[in-house]
Amino acid sequence: MNSPRLDLSSPQRRRILKFAAAAGLLAAIDRSVALAQTASDYRALVCIYLQGGNDGENTLIRSDAAGYQSYASVRTPESGINIAQAQLHPIQPARGGPPFGFHPACAPLKSLFDQKRMAVVANMGMLAQPSNRTGLETGGAPRPANLFSHAEQELALHSGDYAGFTRTGWGGRIADRLDAANPGTLFPPLTSAGGLRTFVSGRSSVPLTVAENPYFTLYGSGNNQYQFDVLRDAALREMLPQSRRNTYEVVAQLYAEEGLAASSVVFPILQNPSSLVAPFFAGFDTSISRQLKTIAQLIEGRGETKLKRQVFYVNQGGYDTHANQAGAQQALLRDLSNALKAFSDAIAAINLANSVTAFTLSDFGRTFKPAANLGTDHGWGNYAFVIGGAVKGGDFYGTVPALVPNGPDDLGKDGRWIPTTSLEQYGATLTRWFGIPEADLPYVFPNIGAFANTNLGFMA
């Protein structure tokens, strides 16, 4: 699938201009927010991107004697990345099989898992088609382009295109299909607090990007106290919506108008002193906790946006642990676990547990064999996590690879596991729960036809 040229007269532009006109550029913003009492049947998907490639094999470790031995014989104490068996937080997948243990920093995730609010999907990754080692090595099965490269694998997982040509994301393509589900509102259905990564770009939808902090507003606007604010607002109202020839200006204008219009809705939500979800994040001040707090507040404030179906994106960076992995991953997983638990608890507190599902993606797993400098290199298949009340949690889905470097699960000799679950299978399970019709799934995941079972069963 190739990307279309940017169409300056596109429906996405007209839609944003309509939204801007309706919300009113620089509309007065000091009004109180009615926290949503609007109807049921709200659903939200939250993509949590672990940027850099999280080492899943140190996040979940076999905790039985034989399983731990297969881990520790390769990830030896000398390697510097070994996690001691005694420090693991043990869990037992409901489907049976051997027990596992979470990384020491992940006690909150164990808690979610035990309460059946979290599921684990094993060995998920980008694939062109179901593939085995022989096929990949002889060329019988095509490989995703530029495997093991951060930028290209992020692009692939975000876009759903293993060949590397597509620049829209499957989050954006879901948003493209949400017009019918969100009647009576032009508010962008996809909001990112984690930047403008490919996941959020649609063909006909335009993502809203908000900052991590709650100051999403033009200072002084809509307020008649100072003459220069009044004059500036009036002039901006005239100057902004000009017709332009330069493509870069057109796009900049699009985001400017969207930002101004959305800020009049979003700012009161984020500043709301009566928020029930904000307190769950007190005491955490990390980027991921700030982003998830923003998302939680936007979900809480959905009555203002009138959205019934909403997609969110957040981003936690730093997972590329080539060196000194132990300390780095410890801090990252601690911050992630705390933020995820706070988010999940906050959403439950406003009775939306069954309506909001969060899921992780990461560039790739890491080499099971350690590398010099007390770290690991880029791998492939990885654990992914799904969190929410509608998740059939407390269980594993998919096939856990045997921890045998140079074995049949390895593309090579360093422990880069060939995925046994594809992005499409993982994503379609989530997207279907979210409410996208079956007929639209190939639009969201163009390569879905290569995989037989596209419902992994982890959603109720």
């Binding site: 490269s149 330069n246 900049a252 101004l260």
Partner: protein, 725 residues
């Protein structure tokens, strides 16, 4: 078929140029006899329904088209060039034809060639209208200092054809998208002093940290080429030499102590263990440093040869100085300065990399990125930067996993430089970021190696330094490197979407500077900035320009408005704007090099961090900069615009006095036009101008500073200003 207007020549048409002086440009041809001739403007229009272009030098015709009186559907493209309205020696008469109704096409044709004119007059499908204007023509294929006028011709269907005449080489090159044949150079348009000045402003946006009125005047007087040459020869501005500093063994001995009284000495971590002081100095120096081109190019290089750690201040100052010092040497030398720096050894985890033992493999981090990001890129490229495709239309990878593993073996055996007074020890040498990393042959993989399907072979036992240098030489010599690097340099200075032809011209200079040297960065920098796609008349191609990145947005304000700052507030705005100077989150820079706009395929790397929030951020930052004086919140000790007590030699970022502009404050038209020339190189639309002038005039005439601030605020916030073009 409609005739647009009866051919009629007008003399001495009214123009709103401030001066009729014809600037011949640097080293240009001064056309004999031209001084007495009247001037006109050939204005370009486009009709999207017909997909046709049209130019006219008749003001009445232009007015009629603008108003849509008789003929509708034509809008200005923004393109125009200066012509002469009267004959004079050295000028060619330009014949204007239109397609004979019933016999010819619905289009006009112009030619400055007397032979061609005579020939076309004999063709029934064409009707001669008039001599439209007079203009110089190329001499030996060259326009000297005048603007080349390029012609392209579209004729997919004999019943529908159209010519385009434009001085914008990018726009001309891209006419192949319509199916045009590019016919090349046909006329030479004289250059007005306004156009010359506008081009100088554009140059300074490409080649400095921001234009100032004084520098614009200096460069316009000197000429662009001579100014660049002078810049290349200038002394290098230095970051303050910060001595080596060891973090204490106990972290608690170096935390920032925020208990009053707050002094810089109590901020051990911030002032020694953090890159921010280097960023402070970058912004501080930006206002007046004379070697602007070098500082701008070092800024470009730090986004390609990325360092995102270690944190020690001295280490960061030392690394950024390396880039400044070596920005105009060879590419290979600059890459070596990067690769062998202990900063990179730390950041890309290749320091103390050793051959495989006990199942632990040498780390592949730098091995991968050396090829992927710093030299050849992931896919094979043509010389013009476009990707090669195989027979099935697939991209062709430049290297494979085995190349990465081989390079990882090459990149073994280096450790930190030795602390003065200590004995060198491979494992014992600890963090020390002065000088290059040092090799230990007995910690280096001495085996024979083969790269790129055997094209590059290293014999066993080469020794660590020799083999690393040879590997760097091999990737620099790869055919991909000139286009891969040249294209990024153009994107970070001139335009995000350069034409392949532009990339090819610069890549050719990268390959060979004319004296057999590969990667001569002075020559490459010159080639980028002097290329006709960087220079010339107003750029009108819709896909030309680049989003201003936050750091340069700030330096441009600092320079244009003469803002004295200690650099602290500009650095801190980088956190909300996505460009945390000298602390990028990953080796992939603050934003992806291959980012495209809104899910399409138009390149726009800086849009990777230009979000809906960023528009608001910039508007708020400008507002706060202009109005912060005397605001209590701005004096907040630790976060405000006033001097911060933990910063040595703090002065804060007080709002600028804007003294230079106050004399024009009472005349809003004059003030706005002056800012239009400095900030927008004259491209402000009439509608925007009217809006700003009206707003300014709502303030009292005597309220000079507030009037200037309002005008500045509106122009810096405008969308036009966000895009550098």
């Amino acid at each position: 078929m409609q005739q647009i207007s009866a051919g009629r020549r007008s003399t001495r048409c009214a123009r709103d140029f401030r001066s009729l002086a014809i600037a011949a440009g640097v080293g240009g041809i001064l056309v004999a006899g031209s001084a007495g001739a009247g001037l006109g403007t050939a204005i370009e229009y486009y009709n999207p329904a017909l997909r046709h272009y049209f130019i006219t030098a008749y003001p009445e015709e232009a007015a009629a088209l603008d108003a849509g009186t008789n003929v509708k559907g034509w809008t200005r493209t923004g393109g125009q060039f200066t012509v002469f309205t009267d004959p004079a020696p050295g000028l060619s008469a330009v014949c204007r034809f239109f397609g004979t109704p019933g016999k010819g096409i619905n289009s006009h044709f112009y030619t400055a060639d007397a032979t061609e004119c005579a020939k076309v007059k004999t063709l029934p499908p064409w009707t001669f209208e008039a001599i439209a204007f007079y203009i110089p023509t190329p001499v030996s294929g060259n326009c000297g200092g005048n603007y080349p006028v390029y012609r392209s011709y579209y004729t997919d269907n004999i019943a529908d054809a159209n010519h385009r005449f434009t001085v914008d080489l990018t726009a001309h090159t891209r006419m192949t998208k319509r199916g045009d044949i590019l016919e090349g150079l046909v006329m030479c348009a004289p250059v007005t002093s306004e156009e010359l000045e506008a081009d100088v402003v554009r140059l300074l946006e490409q080649a400095s940290l921001g234009p100032t009125e004084a520098l614009v005047k200096e460069v316009a007087g000197k000429g662009v080429g001579p100014w660049i040459d002078a810049q290349l020869a200038m002394n290098v501005t230095r970051y303050t030499n910060i001595p080596h500093w060891e973090p204490p063994a106990n972290n608690d001995d170096c935390v920032d102590d925020k208990t009053p009284p707050i002094t810089p000495q109590k901020f051990c971590h911030t002032n020694n263990g953090d890159p921010v002081p280097v960023a402070w100095e970058f912004f501080r120096q930006s206002r007046t440093a004379p070697d602007q081109l070098r500082l701008r190019m070092a800024h470009v290089w730090h986004q390609i040869f990325v360092i995102g750690g270690p944190n020690q201040t001295y280490a960061n100052a030392g690394y950024q100085q390396r880039l400044r010092d070596n920005a105009f040497g060879t590419f290979e030398n600059l890459l070596l300065k990067y690769a062998l720096s202990p900063q990179l050894g730390y950041f890309q985890t290749w320091v103390k990399n050793v051959p495989e033992f006990n199942g632990i493999r040498p780390n592949e981090n730098f091995a991968r990125e050396l090829m992927q990001l710093f030299t050849v890129g992931v896919n094979e490229l043509n010389d013009d930067g476009t990707p090669k495709l195989d027979g099935k239309g697939h991209l062709i990878p430049t290297y494979g996993q085995s190349d990465i593993e081989t390079l990882a073996r090459v990149l073994t055996g280096f450790t930190y430089p030795t602390h003065p007074g200590q004995m060198p020890s491979f494992w014992g040498n600890e963090w020390y970021f002065i000088g290059d990393m040092i090799p230990f042959d007995d910690r280096h993989d001495q085996g024979a190696k083969s790269l790129f399907n055997g094209r590059v072979q290293f014999a066993a036992g080469m020794g660590a330094m020799a083999e690393v240098r040879a590997a760097i030489r091999a990737v620099v010599d790869h055919a991909n490197t000139p286009p891969f690097i040249s294209r990024q340099l153009i994107q970070k200075t001139v335009t995000s979407s350069p034409s392949p032809a532009y990339v090819a011209r610069v890549a050719a200079v990268f390959k060979n500077n004319g004296a057999g040297v590969r990667g001569d960065l002075a020559a490459v920098t010159r080639a980028i900035l002097l290329d006709p796609e960087a220079r010339g008349a107003r750029k009108i191609d819709p896909e030309y320009g680049r989003m201003r990145e936050p750091a340069l947005f700030w330096t441009a304000m600092i320079r244009a408005l003469d803002v004295t700052t200690d650099g602290v507030m500009p650095e801190s705005t980088g956190w909300e704007s996505g460009q945390t100077l000298f602390r990028p989150a990953t080796v992939f820079n603050y934003y992806p090099a291959d980012y495209t706009l809104a899910g399409g395929d138009i390149p726009g790397p800086e849009f990777g961090i230009y979000t809906s929030a960023e528009f608001l951020n910039r508007a708020n930052q400008i507002n706060d900069l202009l109005y912060n004086v005397d605001q209590p919140w701005s004096q907040h000790e630790l976060y405000g615009w006033g001097p911060r007590p933990y910063v040595p030699n703090a002065t804060g970022t007080p709002s600028p006095a804007l003294t230079a502009f106050l004399p024009d404050a009472a005349d809003a038209d004059k003030l706005v036009e002056r800012l239009n020339r400095l900030l927008l190189h004259g491209t402000m639309s009439d509608a925007a101008r009217k809006t700003v002038v009206t707003a300014v005039n709502k303030l009292k005439l005597t309220d000079t500073l507030r009037r200037v601030k309002l005008a500045v605020n509106l122009m810096l916030v405008s969308i036009d200003y966000q895009v550098q073009k």
